[in-house]
């Protein structure tokens, strides 16, 4: 069984990897085809069993006692140690499977985008020109980036810009020059909305909003190194005479903002995290045991 999982960690580019890819593809297609022909009543238990087994591994590796300092040449003492070793050794194979499965989601996303926009383009629906731009951009990036990747794998000298060819410059232009720049531009536009939202929302309309405003102002000031430096070094140090034990040091901007962080922000975030954690645990259990009606149907 262990050798089965070990296959999923074969070194990249090795013949074993390509062999396993083909085997997995064929077995996968057969499995999906068989599942689609299976009666509906049978499908549900198959999904339940698969979900339960997948979750069971992670529950076991979390809870099962792990043998300490057990080397590969040592014989495990009894079933508990043997199971612990098996769970530990199977981890990398299980990890490879989950990496592959989650990577397939990217492929699923690409397939979905392709299907949607190809349909739009073929039927010349509204804004079909945008679909054309999207598909052209996607295929150009795929072609250029894969060629660059392939060339880099076979010629490590391409790390140095002096050895770049057409595809390296093209990828640099498309990725760094266009995609990244547009990404940054879109993200930076948030700053404008935050400024205007702060102006409109931070109004002293009640006691609560006044407390919120005061706290926000202190936190904003504490983010400004200049304000914190001169309020601490200039104002507080003048009052305290540089005595670190002086009571007034508690009112330095750095101290006040740290107090807010550790005594107000921190506990608030932890309380939220606690609630979210309990919810996630309960949802995780329901999914693992296939108690979620919508997931099981």
């Amino acid at each position: 069984m262990l050798s089965f999982f070990a296959q999923f960690s074969a070194p990249g580019y090795s013949p074993e990897v390509f062999r396993n890819v083909w085997i997995t593809l064929i077995v996968g297609f057969i499995f999906v085809a068989a599942l689609s022909f299976a009666p509906t009543k049978l499908r549900r238990p198959i999904v339940w069993v698969a979900t339960f087994l997948a979750g069971l591994y992670y529950i076991l590796i979390w809870l099962w006692p792990t043998p300490v300092n057990l080397t590969d040449s040592d014989q495990p003492l009894g079933g508990v140690e043997a199971t612990g070793r098996w769970l530990t050794n199977a981890q990398s194979g299980v990890s490879s499977i989950t990496q592959t499965l989650t990577a397939m989601l990217l492929g699923l996303g690409v397939f979905s985008v392709l299907r949607l926009h190809t349909n739009k383009l073929m039927k010349k629906q509204k804004d079909w020109a945008f679909s054309l731009v999207l598909l052209l951009s996607m295929f150009t990036m795929i072609a250029v980036a894969y060629t660059d990747y392939y060339q880099n794998q076979n010629n490590p000298k391409l790390v140095d810009q002096a050895n770049w060819g057409f595809f390296q410059y093209a990828k640099d232009f498309l990725f760094d020059g266009m995609l990244q720049a547009m990404d940054a531009a879109m993200f930076s536009s948030i700053a404008f909305f935050i400024l205007f939202a702060a102006y409109r929302a931070f109004r002293i309309r009640s006691v609560e909003s006044t407390v919120l405003l005061g706290t926000a102002l202190i936190v904003m000031l504490s983010l400004m190194g200049l304000a914190e430096y001169y309020l601490s070094k200039g104002v507080i140090d003048r009052i305290t005479g540089g005595n670190p034990g002086h009571f007034m040091n508690n009112f330095a901007l750095a101290e006040v903002s740290r107090w807010i962080e550790t005594n107000v922000q921190g506990p608030g975030i932890m309380a939220l995290g606690w609630g979210i954690g309990i919810g996630a645990l309960s949802m995780g259990l329901r999914l693992w045991l296939s108690l979620e009606k919508s997931g099981g149907n």
Binding site: P11, G12, Q161, F175
Partner: protein, 319 residues
């Protein structure tokens, strides 16, 4: 009064654009801002600088250009420390498909700086191995803690000496690392919740963790530092500037007999500034004046809005 309550949004957008742009046109000497360093950032820097030379650090780079203002400075600070301390590192990503390429671009950019300064470049295989994107970081970190020598078993990199792809475990970076406890440190530069996934699986497993996060994430990730789960934190642009301050001024260090600029009472030793060849150390500082201008504008806008509201209330009361 009405005008104060209803300032035109486009005027504010214009003011913000000007406020953040003008500092970039000022000489760098005008935009150097003295900044106090927080204990959390000090601890991160001290831990990194205390790593034995040649140690291997596992760094998860989960940022893209959308948070370049903060994350690029943090990543570059790490790379400069790695160059200075001859640290080797394993580079991987677990949050964004673009992140591996963005990190490699940063290394290439810094390598050209190192080359110009006469320093050795960071070489793939010898100084670092790039393992790419892990679409399921949770299971990857689980593997790192349970069976390190198998966690990256499928990963290969080009060995220039052998002229072929070889297992990354045969590289100088990983050949002596048997378990995760042999790693000098695990560092994450992130703008996402990948931090939680990593800390939940790595803390308490005998490896020090350092986190470099965005300003938005800093308050919630500080909880990991306060609880002792991570060794140090650099948060946001302010964190980058603090790192750069320590890199350029040292810690508990004074060359001319004056009081040290960065005092770290929790650390008994002292750390000298990084050498001139690694300067300039101003990636974060070059943006800091713009951040100040934006925050001042935001505070002014909030104050003006409230002055208008108070005046309106006063006028209403007088009636």
């Amino acid at each position: 009064m009405e005008k104060l309550l209803n300032i035109n949004r486009y005027l504010m957008y214009l003011l913000l654009a000007l406020a953040v742009s003008i500092p970039f046109f000022l000489p760098s000497s005008c935009t150097i801002i003295p900044t106090l360093t927080k204990t959390s950032t000090q601890d991160l820097y001290i831990n990194l600088m205390q790593l034995p030379e040649g140690s291997t650090v596992l760094i998860e780079s989960d940022w893209t250009v959308s948070t370049r203002g903060e994350s690029a400075g943090q990543f570059e600070a790490f790379l400069k420390i790695a160059r200075f301390r001859n640290l080797k590192f394993v580079l991987l990503s677990g949050g964004d498909a673009q992140a591996p390429q963005v990190a490699l671009n940063s290394i290439a950019r810094l390598n050209s700086q190192f080359k110009a300064a006469g320093l050795p470049e960071l070489k793939p295989w010898d100084d670092y191995v790039a393992l790419g994107l892990f679409t399921d970081p949770a299971s990857m970190w689980q593997s790192v803690t349970t069976n390190f020598r198998q966690a990256f078993a499928s990963k290969t990199a080009f060995d220039p000496a052998a002229g072929q792809q070889r297992s990354v475990y045969e590289s100088p970076v990983l050949k002596n690392i048997k378990t995760s406890k042999d790693l000098g440190m695990v560092v994450i530069v992130t703008a996402s919740a990948s931090l939680d996934i990593m800390v939940q699986r790595m803390s308490g497993k005998g490896t020090k963790i350092g986190q470099m996060v965005t300003g938005v994430m800093a308050p919630e990730s500080l909880i990991y530092y306060n609880s002792g789960q991570v060794a140090g934190q650099s948060g946001g642009l302010r964190g980058v500037v603090e790192m750069e301050t320590m890199m350029s001024r040292g810690v508990n260090y004074s060359a001319d007999g004056k009081e040290p600029f960065v005092k770290a009472p929790q650390f008994s030793g002292k750390i000298a500034p990084l050498p001139e060849s690694l300067k300039p150390l101003d990636r974060g500082m070059s943006y800091f004046a713009s951040l100040h201008a934006a925050l001042i504008l935001m505070i002014a806008a909030v104050v003006l809005g409230n002055v208008g509201l108070l005046m309106q209330k006063k006028k209403g009361g007088a009636k």
